[in-house]
């Protein structure tokens, strides 16, 4: 904790020095505003390591570029843990994060906020203490969920997560590696549901459905916005004890960058976020995962349709 606060002081110092260097005669604010478009260092936008994040990255960066910002899009940085560290180290300026993940995994909160708005407020407060803040959150929520094949659910009479306790032997869950250490993961499953017969088989995000189909795993962690779920051949186990939080997306951004780039950056990103409904997101994810389109062309089509480009 000590080290972290030292680091934020250091980054604030750097920000002040940078502002001074940019406009020696102007006040930091106006000098930075003039810098907003085109000139100045590009906005470094990071994304995590799966399809929806790739699409989000393309959506935000294309919208920003359309507004004249220079954007350095860093795709596929990694899991939340590593991406957030990159943000804190100053290697990234902004990245879209799931509010629930932010709270449970970064802020390390075990209690589930009562509503998405409360979660957002808590997360924002958490980030603001550290020199960051959250932009507006999306309408869609990409919650974590446990999925099983419809046939498997029928065979074992599975409906809720708690039902997993009745399965014989060890049950393999195909999940991203970090699932093992996350509260919204093995930790919470044990904690909330008392499940101790689970074993995590680490999979790259996006490979779970294939693993389910091939019988490599019986259960897989999925995202509620996954395009594959449109097929209805999978059953999402009901989270009756509220382990998996609402996961709306809010871009985490450095307050220094926000100050320097002014309101147009916020407005541009928020305009995109506002339009991202669950349906829209699921469609775009399916276009990439199922139809093999590229995230960039999918984002381009969406932004044009929404007149954001």
């Amino acid at each position: 904790m000590m080290r972290r606060s030292l680091r934020s002081i250091a980054s604030a110092l750097v920000a002040v020095l940078a502002a001074g260097a940019l406009g020696a005669c102007d006040s930091g604010e106006s000098g930075a505003t003039r810098d907003a478009e085109g000139s100045g260092p590009p906005v470094r936008l990071g994304t995590k390591d799966f399809t929806e994040q790739f699409v989000l990255g393309e959506l935000y960066s294309q919208a920003l570029r359309a507004e004249g910002f220079r954007v350095d899009l860093k795709r596929d940085v990694g899991s939340s843990e590593i991406t957030h560290e990159a943000l804190e180290s100053g290697a990234l300026d902004v990245y879209p994060e799931y509010v629930g993940v932010l709270l449970s995994e970064i802020a390390n909160r075990r209690e589930r906020p009562p509503s998405p708005a409360a979660a957002y407020r808590a997360a924002k407060a958490f980030e603001e203490r550290r020199g960051f803040t959250l932009l507006s959150m999306t309408p869609f929520s990409n919650s974590n969920a446990l999925a099983v094949k419809r046939s498997f659910a029928r065979r074992h009479g599975l409906r809720t997560i708690a039902d997993l306790g009745g399965l014989p032997g060890t049950v393999e869950i195909g999940a991203a590696p970090e699932f093992r250490t996350r509260f919204e993961g093995l930790v919470g499953l044990t904690d909330r549901y008392g499940l101790d017969n689970l074993e995590v088989k680490p999979l790259a995000i996006g490979k779970q459905y294939a693993a389910l189909e091939e019988g490599e795993v019986d259960i897989a962690t999925v995202f509620t916005t996954d395009g594959q779920l449109a097929e209805r051949s999978y059953v999402l186990l009901e989270d009756s004890r509220g382990l998996f939080a609402s996961q709306r997306v809010a871009p985490v951004i450095s307050r220094r960058v926000l100050r320097a780039r002014g309101g147009r950056l916020t407005a541009t990103i928020d305009a995109v976020s506002r339009r991202l409904t669950t349906g829209a997101m699921r469609e775009m994810n399916a276009a990439v995962d199922e139809d093999g389109q590229s995230p960039s062309s999918v984002a381009d089509a969406f932004l044009r349709a929404e007149r954001l480009k």
């Binding site: 940085v77 899991s79 843990e81 590593i82 957030h84 990159a86 290697a91 590696p177 250490t181």
Partner: protein
């Protein structure tokens, strides 16, 4: 003509030399270019090699970072991180070194730039965040590490490296191959050029032999024949160049020489003819003059004998006639002698000068006795001469020596000594001598230094001596002091010379 002289052989020789030089220079330039190219290529290849080394070093640093990171995340022990931290400090410098060493091929620079970007991403988006995460939340870091995000990034970077290296090797190889090719081409050019230069040199030599040496030898041979007296020797004029000019000049010279020789022969013949006519005239005249003089003398005799008594005191007139006639006869005799002396073909034989001198002394014994002269004769050699002529010379010289004297009794010394290839004879006296300025004149005919009343003679003796000695191939002169005496010296070729 002058222009022609400058443009034929000279121009060709100059043109051939220039061509040869240009060929040689071209061969040299090509060689230099090739050597320089090869040097550049090897330098580039060396740089490429260094770039490959730098790239490998950088790659190794990245692997060190990744491994250190993993070791640290897995164990939580800082010592695993130490090499990674070190590598994190050094990778930028290594990247810069790589970029500077890489060939200036734009594709390579682009690849290096991409690798740089990827490394920066790896470091800032993976390595450093992971280290931070491992410090704060080791379990989270451990779960992240297995996502292999770092290995994937590293894999991409290494793939880029592989492409970069392959390209760099290919570039270096291509350059080496090009330099190699250029150098073999240049060596071929050089060898070919040298061969060509050799051929040109041989051509020049053959050309010079045909165009210069042979004609010059021809002219030289003709000149030799000319020198040997073959005045009709000429060389053919075949060409219009310098050699042609030489031949023409030689022929013109030979023509002029032949003309001059003919002229000379003509005038020589003319001279001989007129000379012999003159001699004939002199001999005929003096011979023919003797007859009337004898007649006059005879008539004067008859006149005295028959009418001497009647001529009262007229006998002195008759004596005058007789004396003048006698003088005329002497003159004519001497003239005849002079005209005969040194004429005709010389028939020399070995003659003992001592014998000849004895003979001559006998001839003038009367004079010697009359004057009471003392004559000493040294030892004298045997020489090639005509006995009678040599005798005449000694006779004249000894006669003069005892004649031109004052009151003192004459002392005459005759001797000879060897002087190189000649014998030098002398006849010295203690007579009246003469003014040295007349020393030359005394050898001319009928030149007298004294009146006839003082010393008898016609003044032909020394002229006769001079002609005889000259005919024998010698010289004659006199060293004299007035009142003290004279030394007449003459030379004759030594018999054995």
């Amino acid at each position: 003509m002058r222009r022609t002289l400058r443009t034929r052989i000279t121009t060709r020789v100059v043109a051939l030399s220039v061509t040869g030089s240009l060929l040689l220079a071209t061969a040299l330039v090509l060689l230099i270019v090739a050597v320089a190219g090869q040097r550049d290529a090897s330098r580039t290849a060396f740089r490429s090699q260094e770039a490959l080394t730098a790239g490998s070093q950088l790659e190794k640093s990245l692997i060190t970072i990744e491994n250190g990171l993993r070791g640290y995340v897995a164990s939580g022990r800082e010592r695993f991180l130490a090499p990674a931290t070190q590598a994190l400090d050094s990778y930028r410098a290594e990247l810069r070194e790589l970029t500077t060493l890489l060939s200036d091929d734009p594709g390579q620079q682009r690849r290096a730039e991409r690798i740089g970007d990827r490394i920066e991403d790896y470091v800032s988006l993976w390595a450093r965040p992971l280290i931070a995460l491992a410090r704060d939340r080791p379990p989270a870091a451990r779960s992240v590490v297995v996502t292999n995000g770092g290995r994937e990034r590293l894999g991409a970077i290494r793939a880029d490296f592989a492409r970069l290296f392959a390209r760099e090797r290919a570039v270096a190889r291509a350059r080496e191959a090009r330099a190699e090719q250029r150098s073999s081409l240049a060596i071929a050019f050089g060898v070919g050029g040298l061969g060509l230069v050799f051929v040109v040199a041989v051509g020049v030599v053959l050309y010079l032999r045909r165009a210069i040496v042979r004609p010059v030898v021809t002219v030289a041979q003709a000149a030799g024949r000319l020198a040997d007296g073959e005045l009709s020797a000429r060389v053919p004029v075949k060409r219009d160049d310098e050699i042609g000019a030489l031949a023409r000049g030689f022929n013109a010279m030979a023509n002029s020489l032949e003309r001059g020789q003919a002229e000379l022969q003509r005038s020589h013949a003319e001279l001989e003819r007129s000379n012999s006519e003159l001699e004939q005239f002199a001999s005929v005249t003096s011979h023919d003059l003797q007859a009337p003089l004898s007649t006059i003398s005879m008539y004067a005799e008859l006149l005295e004998r028959r009418h001497g008594a009647e001529l009262d005191g007229g006998t002195s007139l008759i004596d005058g006639i007789r004396g003048a006639t006698q003088q005329a006869r002497t003159l004519i005799r001497d003239l005849l002698e002079y005209s005969r002396a040194g004429r005709g073909r010389l028939r020399p034989e070995p003659v003992s000068a001592e014998t000849v001198v004895k003979q001559a002394m006998e001839a003038v014994a009367g004079d010697i006795e009359k004057t009471g002269a003392r004559v000493t004769v040294g030892s004298l050699p045997v020489v090639q001469a005509e006995r009678s002529n040599l005798c005449r010379v000694f006779q004249n010289l000894v006669g003069n020596a005892v004649k031109f004297t004052d009151e003192r009794p004459p002392e005459v010394d005759i001797g000879a000594e060897r002087d190189g290839r000649t014998w030098r004879f002398w006849v010295s006296d203690n007579g009246i001598g003469m003014d040295p300025q007349h020393a030359e004149r005394v050898f001319e005919p009928f030149q007298r230094l004294h009146g006839e009343e003082d010393y008898a003679g016609t003044g032909i003796g020394l002229a006769v001596c001079a002609r005889i000695i000259e005919q024998h191939g010698g010289q004659i002169w006199v060293d004299t002091t007035p009142g003290e005496g004279s030394v007449f010296v003459f030379t004759l070729p030594a018999d054995d010379a």
